[in-house]
């Protein structure tokens, strides 16, 4: 599986592409534009700012966005393709964002890296130190980051961050630990796509210990430890993790969960309080799938995408 379509909705708002005038396309009719009859506000939508392969530099497009749109009203921002280091003059989108922080005072929701397979392999998306975003935008309530090449994070502190998601083919252990060591008392939803060691996903359950302990995440209700080559180990760790008792939704989806992991999950602490358990994309046997369903009668369990176990090759849904 791969990610094949750009976002159409983000954090509750429809995504609208910022149309750069050099597209040769009119930019009127966009929300918040000064076109006659425009009743809309720049804050009504999630703005998607991106370049394309032979397009202008991302920096130029971002500058045009700042100059054209009433950015003081913008609450939701989606950053798409910004080029690659092997292109010439590719900017650092995090630096551009942090420099522009004063012009984006209302920013609450940010997606960094709405880049699809046709544009780059997820494991090739080049990130950087994203700690800077949390420093520059203390009002961020919702942050999603795709790609983990050179991704860095140091522990952050936010009283308002409610959703934090990392999508990757291999999430570095340092990032996982930094999330655990962060001070995020309002965080309700955390997803980590741990990926595989082949693509830098070197986190172990030890690196997840603080998150699973839950003491630093008092508001957490939705936890996803997904796309993991170590899904069975995670299931074992989750089976005894204190944080689980307060969750409404738990996901071990997209990974390589087998009967071994499911067994430990079922023999661990009760999961019947969950509203939803997402295990889709897994390697469970039919018998184990039936046991999981039988053990969790009131829980909405997603057991879709049963993968064949015939060649002893376990693979996560999204890696490259």
């Amino acid at each position: 599986m791969t990610i094949n379509a750009h976002l159409t909705e983000f954090a509750g708002k429809p995504v609208v592409d910022f149309r750069h005038e050099q597209d040769g396309e009119p930019s009127d009719g966009q929300p918040g534009s000064s076109a006659p009859g425009s009743q809309t506000s720049a804050g009504d939508v999630a703005w998607r700012v991106a370049t394309w392969f032979d397009g202008p530099g991302f920096g130029e497009i971002f500058e045009a966005f700042l100059g054209t749109v009433a950015t003081a009203e913008v609450t939701h921002l989606v950053i798409g393709y910004w080029g690659a280091s092997y292109d010439q003059g590719t900017p650092d989108p995090v630096a551009l964002l942090t420099v522009a922080a004063g012009r984006l005072p209302a920013l609450r929701a940010l997606f960094l890296g709405d880049i699809v397979m046709e544009e780059a392999e997820i494991s090739w998306i080049e990130q950087s130190d994203v700690t800077r975003l949390f420093d520059a935008f203390p009002g961020l309530e919702h942050v999603e980051i795709r790609g983990s090449q050179a991704l860095e994070l140091r522990p952050v502190s936010s009283q308002v961050l409610r959703t934090l998601r990392f999508e990757s083919g291999g999430l570095p252990a340092e990032v996982v630990r930094a999330v655990g060591d962060s001070d995020l008392p309002a965080l309700e939803h955390l997803d980590l796509w741990l990926g595989t060691g082949s693509y830098g996903g070197d986190a172990t359950t030890d690196d997840l210990a603080v998150i699973l302990g839950g003491e630093r995440l008092p508001a957490l209700r939705r936890l996803g430890l997904e796309d993991a080559q170590i899904a069975d180990d995670i299931a074992t760790a989750v089976a005894g993790a204190p944080v689980v008792a307060r969750l409404e939704s738990l996901s071990l989806a997209l990974g390589t969960l087998t009967d071994r992991g499911a067994e430990t999950l079922l023999t661990g602490q009760p999961l019947t309080h969950l509203r939803r358990l997402d295990l889709h994309h897994h390697f469970l046997s039919d018998a184990m799938m039936a046991r999981v369903r039988a053990a969790l009668p009131g829980v909405e369990v997603d057991l879709g995408e049963q993968e064949p176990l015939d060649d002893d090759w376990l693979y996560v849904a999204i890696s490259e």
Binding site: T2, N4, D23, F53, Y86, D87, E118
Partner: protein, 374 residues
């Protein structure tokens, strides 16, 4: 009025075209077998007939006559295939000329369409949007050097004379010397064979072997433009243009860079694509297809592969196929004269509407026939 078809007796294309003739109240078309033509028989084209040249198809015997003996599933042999095929096309054209038959597909145009390099060059020189192409490349090292020169880090490598994605490679070079190739060509002890399951090669020696194996038959390399996606699948469009008008559209969707339907991909919703492009964008997209078809004015029908780039604002032509009309179950776009007709029925109607002593300049037909075709 009788049609003559150079094709493979009994295959789906020939049968569907015959069915379209019957539906139009015409006699069964006279089928001239590619097998016989390629063995050297004089093409028996009836005097005054309308001559349709169809694909030599997937007949193993025909394949052996074109490419030489060997496993029909093998990848490669395109250069020999092309030489045999164009020679035979010349004989078909000569026979048609002699019999006074009207040719529905100009053989020189078919020859251009069966060479992706020439096809791309013709489209480009006519101002049709196409992905940027690399100059000729002769092996893997050469390919990588040309990619670097052009600043391209992802390309489609296509055998110049291939079809059905055979030997096509989606190649990407990444940071830190990484490389990744996705292709339907599977490496076996006997060489590359076509597979219905895509393979991924991620080491330099494997990718080099792949490209070096394909290169001797000629390669066309062009920029891999990111395709638009819907519902988690990427897509492109096959647009059949009959007598200059885009008439039939199939959306091909995929979870891989290859959209060919035989590779386990599925048809998508035309309405959803039209909505995503918007009314004006849809019209522009179809206009580009018509413009591409206009580069082949002697061909009654061409099958255009339309790439819609991620973002839904830019389109480009991937390929123009001389035999791109095998779209079972697809009828003409609502509001066009082909509404309700399959691609074969539309061609029968358009062919019957042709006026004048020669088959040239088919694209004059829509102006006189327009939407009032039967």
């Amino acid at each position: 009025m009788t049609f003559a078809v150079v094709g493979t007796p009994g295959d789906r294309r020939t049968e569907m075209f015959a069915a379209a003739c019957r539906s139009a109240g015409l006699d069964e078309p006279i089928v001239v077998a590619w097998r016989d033509v390629l063995r050297g028989a004089a093409p028996a084209v009836a005097s005054g007939s309308l001559l349709r040249v169809d694909s030599p198809g997937e007949d193993a015997e025909v394949d052996a006559l074109l490419r030489g003996p060997g496993d029909p599933a093998r990848v490669g042999g395109g250069a020999r295939w092309y030489a045999s095929f164009t020679t035979a096309l010349g004989r078909v054209a000569a026979a048609a000329e002699q019999a006074g038959a009207r040719q529905l597909g100009d053989v020189d145009e078919i020859a251009v369409m069966c060479d992706k390099r020439r096809c791309h060059a013709r489209l480009r020189s006519a101002g049709v949007p196409v992905p940027e192409a690399l100059p000729p490349v002769y092996d893997y090292a050469d390919l990588r050097a040309r990619m670097t020169e052009a600043g391209l880090h992802q390309v489609f490598v296509k055998p110049a004379h291939g079809s059905s994605a055979s030997g096509v490679v989606a190649l990407r070079a990444g940071p830190a010397g990484r490389v990744k190739a996705v292709t339907s060509a599977a490496r076996t002890a006997a060489g590359l064979v076509n597979s219905l399951r895509l393979r991924t090669y991620e080491t330099e020696p494997e990718v080099a072997y792949l490209i070096d194996s394909l290169a001797p038959d000629g390669l066309h390399v062009e920029r891999w433009l990111p395709k638009a996606g819907l519902d988690g699948r990427v897509l492109d469009l096959r647009v059949v243009v009959v007598a200059g008008k885009p008439t039939h559209v199939v959306v091909r969707t995929s979870c891989s860079p290859m959209t060919n339907l035989h590779l386990g991909n599925t048809r998508g919703s035309v309405d959803a694509v039209r909505d995503a492009l918007g009314a004006a964008g849809w019209e522009r997209a179809l206009d580009v297809c018509a413009q591409a078809a206009g580069c082949f004015p002697g061909s009654l029908m061409v099958g255009v592969d339309l790439l819609v780039q991620a973002g839904w604002r830019r389109v480009a032509i991937g390929e123009v196929n001389a035999f791109g009309d095998l779209l079972p179950g697809i009828t003409g776009l609502p509001g066009t004269w082909a509404e309700g007709l399959d691609t074969y029925g539309a061609q029968v109607s358009a062919a019957l509407a042709l006026r004048g002593p020669r088959a040239a300049a088919h694209h004059a037909a829509p102006r006189t026939v327009g939407r009032d075709l039967p």
